[in-house]
């Protein structure tokens, strides 16, 4: 039973002397299976679990998504390597769009907190201090939403922890995934982190103001990105100079609750 809603999930069975499905006895003798199992009687039994490791997180993510939908709020999960420009992009976005319809959840490993940069323009923002944790999970977002209390009809922008590996595995209950990649990281990034790029609805290629100074092979980048994700939208931007941000705002507009974009099916 799920503690949140009472719905059943697949973590039901315990070994407590009662029948456990698939409790297979490979040893060939008779004995009663009462309390002696707990004490351990020196031989082994195979227990079929068929357990999805991420099931618990996925379940909670489903709750987050349902809650967001009930309140006509859209959530966007923004992921990147450390330093690709997520916080800069969010600062610009709040200035550019106005703080009304947007609130921010910041995931950070260490102070100084990125949320302080966001709070400045008068925007709703909460910080999730993940400590040593290298990604956000659905429980963290659930807690953050409770204290953020975003208004109906708004968009919640979530800055995930700077890391291209495990944030891809943890569904938060978001409606869309944005991967920010910056030009200095090199055109091979999509091939090196295919899991992350495969899941992206939108890729923002940031720091394009640096293109004249670097040997970034745009054709190779596109080829790599299309190999792992043929369908993702792509916008080149400069979060500091403002280049391309209109396209990003348009994309966000199309994903806002009023636009009625269908909910991401995951």
């Amino acid at each position: 039973m799920c503690a949140t809603c009472g719905c059943s999930d697949d973590t039901g069975t315990r070994i407590d002397g009662v029948a456990v499905p698939g409790h297979d006895h490979s040893h060939g003798h008779e004995h009663s299976h009462g309390q002696d199992h707990a004490r351990g009687h020196g031989h082994t039994h195979t227990v079929e679990l068929e357990q999805d490791v991420l099931a618990k997180n996925d379940h909670l993510a489903g709750h987050n998504r349902a809650w967001l939908d009930q309140n006509t709020i859209r959530a966007v999960n923004i992921m990147s390597s450390p330093g690709s420009g997520k916080t800069t992009l969010l600062e610009r976005t709040i200035t550019g769009l106005g703080a009304e319809g947007v609130s921010v959840v910041e995931g950070d490993q260490e102070p100084p907190f990125d949320a302080d940069r966001i709070r400045a323009p008068g925007c709703r923002a909460v910080q999730i201090n993940t400590g040593a944790g290298c990604h956000l999970d659905a429980q963290m977002l659930s807690d953050a939403l409770r204290s953020l209390d975003p208004p109906r009809g708004s968009v919640v922008l979530i800055e995930n922890v700077g890391n291209l590996v495990c944030p891809a595995l943890f569904d938060l209950g978001e409606h869309a995934r944005v991967v920010v990649m910056s030009v200095p990281e090199g055109e091979d990034k999509p091939i090196k982190y295919p899991h992350m790029f495969r899941g992206a609805d939108l890729v923002l290629l940031n720091k394009v103001d640096l293109l004249p100074h670097l040997d970034f092979d745009m054709d190779r980048f596109l080829e790599h990105l299309r190999r792992v994700n043929p369908g993702a939208a792509l916008h080149p931007v400069s979060a500091t100079r403002g280049e391309g941000l209109q396209e990003w705002y348009a994309w966000l507009g199309a994903h806002s609750p009023s636009a009625g974009t269908p909910v991401r099916a995951r």
Binding site: T11, D16, T46, L49, A55, C134, L169
Partner: protein, 109 residues
């Protein structure tokens, strides 16, 4: 180490199902396209299992390849990397499997 959280979820999920019984081994399925590195899970396991009924348990890890279904020619084929391309050349492919992260079974005493 990105696999620590995954390994902790494995330990917690198994402990919840097996109660006080000591766990001798775990049979895991880590799809080739799951984004999780089996050696890193092995590396994290001792730490994650310390002080639990899973301490000292053996890990048997199976790494199945994925399967893709081409949306252009309908062919179902084996997928080993994330550059998912059908033998017909199309990259419009539905990934059917290969990303799974499962605890198939455990051996308890």
């Amino acid at each position: 180490m990105h696999e620590l959280a995954i390994t902790e979820s494995i330990v917690a999920g198994v402990a919840e199902r097996t109660g006080p019984a000591r766990v001798r081994s775990l049979q895991l399925e880590i799809g080739l396209l799951s984004g999780v590195v089996p050696d890193a899970v092995r590396f994290c396991f001792d730490l994650a299992a310390e002080g639990t009924t899973l301490a000292g348990a053996r890990l048997d890890i199976d790494e199945p390849e994925g399967q893709g279904k081409c949306l252009t020619c309908e062919e179902v084929f084996t997928v080993r990397t994330w550059a998912v391309i059908c033998p017909c050349g199309s990259s419009d492919v539905d990934l059917l499997s290969g990303t799974q992260l499962r605890v198939r079974s455990v051996e308890v005493m």
